[in-house]
Assembly symmetry: C2
Homo-oligomer: 352 residues x 2
C-alpha cells in the first residue's frame, strides 16, 4: 500500500522522552479524510501509553486522541466532508460496524474498536499513530464536524475529556434540576462541571482541598464539598442523582455512595484497577444505588456533544504548548500542574 | 394503651433456642387490621436476627415477615379489608409516609421504615414482633390482598424472597426476551427463576455444582452455567442484561461482570458486607456495566407481585413445618437443606 511519510512526536521505549519521529500514513482510500492537524490535546492516557503503564504498548508509539484539524484531501467516496472543513477525531478511528454495540452507536464498546493510537491499522498492517503528528488519515465515519464558533484549541479536549463525562451524564439522564456531583477537578472534572451545568443540573464538586473552591465556582459549580470534612459530607447524605468520579487513582468510594439518593449512580470514569478499599454492599442495598463504569462515548454521541458545545459556547480551559515542550508537560501533568488540559499547537511541529 | 396477650415463638437471647413466649399486641386502632396468622415463611434474616448476627437485635425477638392470614377484626377507619379476607404482611408495617421515597411507593427506602419485627412500634413504645405468632395488628396501608386461587402456605415466601427478586427484575425492565441470570439457588434464587421466566425472560442459573441442574430446569430455567467451569463461563461472556445475585456470603463478583452485556447490571440482593475480592473497574468501564444493590420492595410493588403470582399461578416451593420444629429448621437452613423455603403452619402454635 502507498504511504506518505510525515513528522510526528513519539517514543520508541517506555524509558525514553518523546522526540521527533518520521511515521507513515496511508494514502487516502475511498472513504478516507486526510486531516492537517492544527491542535492536539494531551490526555493522561497519552502518558500512560508512552510509558507502558498498562503493559500493552507497542513501540514506536505516537500518542494523541484529541485532534482538531482541517481537511486536506478526501477519498472519492467521501460525502460528509470537503477540503477545508474544520473537523475532529477522538479516541476511535474504526470499529467492526456490525456488532450490536456498533449498531447501537456504542462503537466504544465494540470488541474490535480501533484506538486512534495503539490500535491496529488493518490497511497498513501496523499500529495506529495518534495526533502528535502533522496529519492523520481517518475513515469519514469516524471524523466529526467542529462547530464554527468555537476556539479550535479549546475544543480539542472535548474529544476525550469532554465525551468521557458527557456520555454518562446523558446515559443517566442528567438534565434540569438533576443533582450532580463531580469527584476530582482535573481535565475530566472541569469538563464534567461545565457540561452538567449547561445541562441544567445543580452541580457540586467533591474535593479534598479548599483551594479548589474558587476554581470550581468559576467553572459554574454551585457547591463544593470538602470530602475530608465529616460534617460537610453528612450534610449531603442522600443528595445526588449521579456522581461522576474522575479521580484516576485508588480512593474510597464508600463515603460517596452515602451521598447518592435512592436509585442514584456513581460512575467511575477515571480509575482503572481494583476498588480498594472494598465497596460495602449495605449502603448500596439501602437505596438501590449503583456503581458503574463508563468509557468515552460513541461517534454519534461525540458529534452531539460538539454540537452542544457549539450551542452553549463551551470549550475546555487549556494551556497551549509547543510539541517540543511535551516532556515538560507530562511532568507537570503528573503533578496536576495544569488548568486543565495541555493542548499542542501543531504548527510547532510543522515549522520545525 | 390497651393490649392483648397472645402466644408467639421467639427468643430472649442470641444463644438460646426459640421457644414459646407470651407477647402483647396493641388493640385494633382506627386504621388497623388484626390478622389471624395462618402461615409464616422462614427467612434467613429471621435466624440472623434471632442470633444477633448483625449486632442490632433487641430481645425478646419474635421473627417472621412472610405472613399470610385471615382478617379477624378491623378498625373503624379501615376501608380496604373486611373480616374474613385473606391478607398478607411482608417486611414492613409502617414508614414515615411523607418523605420522597414514601411518596414514590418506595417505603423500603424510607429512613424511618418500621420492620415487621425488630422495628419500633410507636403505639406500644416497644419492639415490633413478627409472624411467629397467633395474630398481628397492622395498619391497613401495609396489609396486602392475597389472590384467592393461590396456595396460602406457598404464597408466604413471596412476601420477602419473592419481592426481593421481583423489585430488581421490574426496576431493570426485565421482560420478553431479556437475558437474565440468577446466582445461587436458594429461597431467593428459586423465586428469581420463576418470576423472570414468567416475565418472559431467558433465564440462566449460575451454580457451583452440577447437582442443581435438574432442579433449576424444573423451576423453568433455560440454562445452567457451572460457575467454576472456565469454558462454560467463557461461553456466556457479554450475554446477560441483568444478573440477580442471591448468594448470601462473600464471593467473587468479577467473573459475573464479564458475563454482562453492554449496559448490564448485576444486582446484589443477598449479601451484606464488603465486596471481597475487590471489584475491578476495567470490565465495568468496558461496557458501561453496573453493580447495584436492592432491598425487598415497596407496598404497591408487593401487591403488584401478589397479583402477578395470582395471574400466573406462582407460589414458592416449600416445606411446611410446625412451629415446634423451628430450631431444627434453622439448623437445616444453615446447611441449605431445604427446597426452598420453610413455612410454618401456625395452627401448630394455636393448638399448643
Amino acid at each position: 500500500m502507498n504511504t506518505k511519510e510525515i513528522k510526528a512526536y513519539g517514543t520508541e521505549s517506555a524509558e525514553a522522552d518523546l522526540k521527533q519521529l518520521q511515521i507513515n500514513r496511508r494514502v487516502v482510500l475511498e472513504n478516507d479524510v486526510e486531516i492537517d492537524i492544527l491542535y492536539c490535546g494531551v490526555c493522561h492516557s497519552d502518558l500512560h501509553f508512552a510509558r507502558n503503564d498498562w503493559g500493552m504498548t507497542q513501540y514506536p508509539v505516537v500518542p494523541g486522541h484529541e485532534i482538531v484539524g482541517k481537511v486536506a484531501q478526501i477519498g472519492e467516496g467521501v460525502s460528509k466532508y470537503k477540503v477545508g472543513d474544520i473537523v475532529a477525531v477522538g479516541c476511535l478511528v474504526d470499529s467492526c460496524r456490525t456488532c450490536q454495540n456498533c449498531k447501537d452507536d456504542l462503537e466504544q464498546y465494540c470488541p474490535e474498536w480501533v484506538g486512534t493510537y495503539g490500535g491496529y491499522d488493518k490497511h497498513l498492517e501496523t499500529n495506529t499513530h495518534g495526533g502528535y503528528s502533522e496529519t492523520i488519515v481517518v475513515d469519514e465515519s469516524f471524523v466529526l464536524k467542529v462547530p464554527e464558533n468555537l476556539d479550535l484549541a479549546g475544543i480539542a479536549p472535548v474529544l476525550c475529556a469532554g465525551i468521557t463525562t458527557w456520555s454518562p451524564l446523558r446515559h443517566w439522564n442528567v438534565g434540569k434540576d438533576s443533582k450532580v456531583a463531580v469527584v476530582g477537578l482535573g481535565g475530566l472534572g472541569h469538563m464534567a462541571i461545565k457540561l452538567a451545568v449547561a445541562l441544567g443540573a445543580h452541580v457540586t464538586l467533591f474535593s479534598r482541598s479548599t483551594n479548589k473552591i474558587e476554581d470550581a465556582k468559576a467553572l459554574g459549580a454551585h457547591d463544593v464539598i470538602i470530602s475530608t470534612d465529616q460534617s460537610q459530607m453528612e450534610h449531603v447524605i442522600g443528595k445526588f442523582d449521579v456522581i461522576i468520579d474522575t479521580v484516576p487513582y485508588e480512593h474510597d468510594l464508600n463515603p460517596y455512595i452515602g451521598t447518592l439518593t435512592t436509585n442514584g449512580t456513581l460512575v467511575i470514569v477515571g480509575y482503572l484497577g481494583p476498588i480498594d478499599p472494598m465497596l460495602v454492599t449495605v449502603p448500596m442495598i439501602m437505596g438501590r444505588k449503583s456503581v458503574a463504569g463508563s468509557l468515552i462515548g460513541g461517534i454519534a454521541e461525540t458529534q452531539e456533544l460538539l454540537d452542544f458545545c457549539g450551542k452553549h459556547n463551551i470549550t475546555s480551559d487549556i494551556e497551549v504548548i509547543k510539541i517540543q515542550d511535551i516532556n515538560t508537560a507530562y511532568e507537570r501533568m503528573l503533578k496536576s500542574d495544569v488548568k486543565y488540559r495541555f493542548v499542542i499547537d501543531m504548527k510547532s511541529l510543522k515549522d520545525n
